[in-house]
Amino acid sequence: MASKPSDMVVSPDEATSGGPMPVKIVVAGGFAVGKTTFIGSISEIEPLTTEAALTKVSEGVDDTSKVATKTSTTVAMDFGRITLGDDLILYLFGTPGQDRFWFMWDELVRGAIGAVVLIDTRRLEECFPAVDYFEENQIPFVVGMNCFDGQATHSPDDVREALAVSPDTPVLLIDARERVSTRDTLLELVQHALVRATA
């Protein structure tokens, strides 16, 4: 693809002549829940990993010292890419769901279409921080139940109830290894975001 300079700026959602416009979806969930598999099943590139080294200042950890301590955390983020036309590229960013990584989510979700929260019903609680975060920040999301044993042990309704998410939150049975399943999950999210945007 040749890079051409832009000769005019159209609306922010129109690609300029310098290349395609990016959109993104965040893929969140607990440890080993299938985030990388999900991204890899549909990405046109092998999922890549970027390292975000971030410094967090935490105060008063040690009561006697009252000294602010700085800690450096490295977060590995997987991502993949789907070209949706000459002028549109969808990026999928996979991010650990633990709440100690929240400090980077604000940026990750800025301008995002929404999020896919992957869950393993045997360890449901691992997705609570992600669900809380997306609800509080009004980020459209869908829940994907990754069926590791090949059969659903819980119904989507059970999961919706256990998570206490709103009744219109899509909860889907998925197989993160299957491209079609992943595509349908993304479609469901975009549709959900559309409904939310029209509401």
Binding site: T16, L48, S72, L84, L90, Y91, L187, A197
Partner: protein
Amino acid sequence: MSLGDAGDGLRVRPYAITGGRTRAATEVPIEAIVYRTPKGEKAVSSMSLERRQILSILASPQSAAEISARLRLPLGVARVVLGDLVDEGFVALNTRSASGRPDLRLLERVLDGLQAL
């Protein structure tokens, strides 16, 4: 910044590239698609190593995340170097994340694109 923590020694050198800065004047979102300007195309061979590497792989426009991953630069470092390159006119960005959630038209294009996969 405690980027030089003992347990995390690898963090020291990358930020040397940026003169220790962890931010550039221009913010580069992680998904922003970076492309070379004509000035950037001409300047490739005269650049320092990291900048030359970045400008070289920008023969195809790609996201800040991809540049970081392919050149094995921590994301924060890549974004500072890219922000500088934007300020100096060697590269430009396609990004929309500052304009909030995608609008209906854009969502519909994404939907159509996914359905056509």
